[in-house]
Symmetry: C2
Subunit: 409 residues, 2 copies
């Protein structure tokens, strides 16, 4: 008998009917002889409705009160799912974040979990009960209700799995697994049988959106195997674990991409040790996230820095740079909107030199100009024209043969 943690997202619990369906998935795992903990998100659009209600009161709600408001969303789902399980004849009990022993920093709207005390969950599991826990929320040691920010329910599920030393954590979502690239864009996209934590982290960070990076980090740190699978269809999903025995012959595992990228160049900066830290600290202080950074030296006295940002952050970025023009000491600013980022990811790259060169070759064959490059041990990211994004992804997907089933060795 093992311990399984299952997580169901907002779409999966979006209506009473879907909650009853989720109950069946939970019961199935119970009937397989496992102890089951279920982590759920707020129902479908209920979080949006709560946000809308707050907006009717004030355009600037305090983060503490927003957490208080949003935390009700998951509390509704846990009670309904528990009722559904009980109605089907199974013993079940619901816990809010604080009741489940999920302790966080007192940092509203984006708290990190500091500790999980699984005693209450364990006691209920040992009574033969299914335990249903509210995702996305916890409480500080002073008893303040907090929320975990985007992807918080994934993090809750993995953290509980770690604290219980669970055998597996299943992330049920509205797709059937992790794909080589977005199947809505590239119809040859193939579902992967397995992927490593590091590869998943790169894909998650690159905007593949299936799993939240914080949840993947947590799973990697505590070595909890994850399975990303569909709550609607009963088929195997994608296993995320340390070393993948399957699919190991693939050098490139997946292609991530996102548009609405802008390249900003700050020209004629003083060539000093503190220039880089000053400029990016200034932006970070205003919550502006910078992605790829490139530095070029023009001469001994002057350097230029280019970086990519989300286009939605452009106005704020330009304003901040303008405000700090004298302290930063640059000459002028250029920017280019309408760009996209396309990345290839695969842990096999470390031992396969030339993968980046292959990528550039494929892009060049398509007449695609690479405007920025960034590499890590397991990924290569390029910034290109947004209009050429889909062409690039399709060409790379085909060239690296990602739609081909791997040999099972």
């Amino acid at each position: 008998m093992g311990i399984i943690v299952q997580k169901f997202g907002g779409t999966s619990v979006g209506s009473a009917e879907r909650i009853l369906h989720v109950a069946d998935r939970v019961i199935q795992e119970m009937e397989n002889g496992n102890q089951v903990v279920v982590v759920v998100s707020a129902m479908g659009k209920s979080t949006d409705q709560l946000v809308e209600l707050a907006n009717q009161i004030t355009s600037k709600p305090s983060k503490r009160e927003m957490d208080m408001l949003l935390a009700t969303g998951e509390q509704v789902t846990i009670s309904l799912l528990t009722m559904a399980l009980q109605n089907k004849g199974y013993d079940a009990i619901s816990f809010t974040g604080w009741q489940a022993g999920i302790e966080t920093e007192e940092q509203h709207s984006n708290a990190r979990i500091t500790n999980i005390n699984p005693a209450k969950i364990k006691a209920e599991l040992d009574k033969g009960r299914i335990v249903v826990v509210a995702g996305f929320q916890g409480a500080s040691s002073a008893g303040q209700i907090t929320t975990l920010g985007r992807g918080g329910s994934d993090t809750t599920a993995v953290a509980i799995a770690a604290s219980l030393n669970a055998d597996k954590c299943d992330i049920y979502t509205d797709v059937t697994g992790v794909f080589t690239t977005d199947p809505r864009v590239v119809k040859e996209a193939r579902k992967l049988e397995a992927i490593s934590y590091d590869e998943m982290l790169e894909l998650a960070n690159l905007g593949a959106g299936v799993l939240h990076p914080r949840a993947v980090e947590f799973a990697k740190n505590y070595q909890i195997p994850l399975e990303v699978r569909s709550s609607m269809e009963d088929e195997r999903g994608t296993i995320v674990e340390e070393e993948t025995s399957m699919e190991q012959n693939l050098v490139v595992k997946g292609i991530a991409f996102e548009d609405q990228v802008t390249k900003v160049s700050v020209l004629g900066l003083p060539n000093e040790l503190t220039t880089l830290s000053t400029i990016f600290t200034t932006l970070a202080n205003h919550n502006l996230n910078v992605d790829i950074i490139i530095q070029s030296t023009t001469n001994d006295k002057k350097i230029s820095i280019s970086f990519s940002i989300k286009t939605s952050d452009l106005d704020d970025t330009l304003k901040i740079l303008e405000q700090h023009k004298s302290s930063l000491g640059y000459e002028h600013i250029e920017y280019e909107t309408g760009l996209a980022k396309v990345s290839i990811v695969g842990s096999g790259m470390v031992s396969n030199p030339g993968v980046a060169a292959n990528m550039f070759e494929v892009l060049a064959e398509q007449g695609i100009d690479v405007k920025m490059v960034s590499t890590s041990e397991i990924k290569v990211s390029t910034v290109i024209s947004g209009e050429q994004m889909v062409t690039a992804v399709e060409a790379l997907h085909s060239s690296f043969e990602l739609s081909k089933e791997p040999l099972n060795v």
Copy 2:
């Protein structure tokens, strides 16, 4: 500087607009130089919506999970009201029932408050903050979320007022105070300036519906003056306190009434010491509330018992009596539906004999047959035909001169 507890019901906080209006009422009390604690109910119809959601899952939700579900209603209101206060420039903080230190029995759906630890509320008041507390809910010492049943938010407000030794507890509602009778039925009904706890308790129990009896009991035990007043209009309400200096020249203070009453007679019961307890314990065990009870002895061996119930409980009552026919040992059952209960209440009755006789006289003048009577020191209740209810109330209201302003002495 005093401590004021204000309670706003579901209608008063039914929309974002109304919550902003409530915030103004709270701020007004703050600006009067008081420390203010606000207790709120769930927004308008939101409790009904949550119940409907549960009904889509199961017709028999467990009470624990129902409490978990319903407790989200007030949590939404406290966060929104706190945002509204903050947005208007006032420092405020919200607390759920458990955060506010409201400890209850572990009795779901109808828990009694066992203890209030006001330390957290006090600490926030002393920081100059307005404290907004979720009504209707608490937590057991084991950390289970409970709800207090009907009128629970009134009870929360009064209990907090008692624990803080508050100067006053204002119950804001959708009427402007306590009336001599229901102004929707008798247009001469007059708002009372003051009423005693005991009179209010009788009126509350008799279905006047303005204040919950449990809240009035709590206020009486801890001698907290209440004021029932309108959240919409800025006028004085009705004071509820131990001894009323105003309106003391009135013998009868108010008239309560309700229809949908049924009289059930159980005939030919054995004349034994345990007969009464057996029959009413049997009904109580099935959650059937009996109101007026009349016992008549037919002869040494046989007695008959009549009692009044809500007509909605008739089917269940007849079923239970039928099931227990052999153990109860009665001969047969008669019942009469379509009845109403009309009661006069006033603490002056104790020292004014003949008030009951006056009442019967008035009813007789109207040709109204009295089918059952029940009296206490401060009230007389009669069961009459439902069709004659309004006539009876109007005649009594006029005869006891309830629409006349009292002399202020």
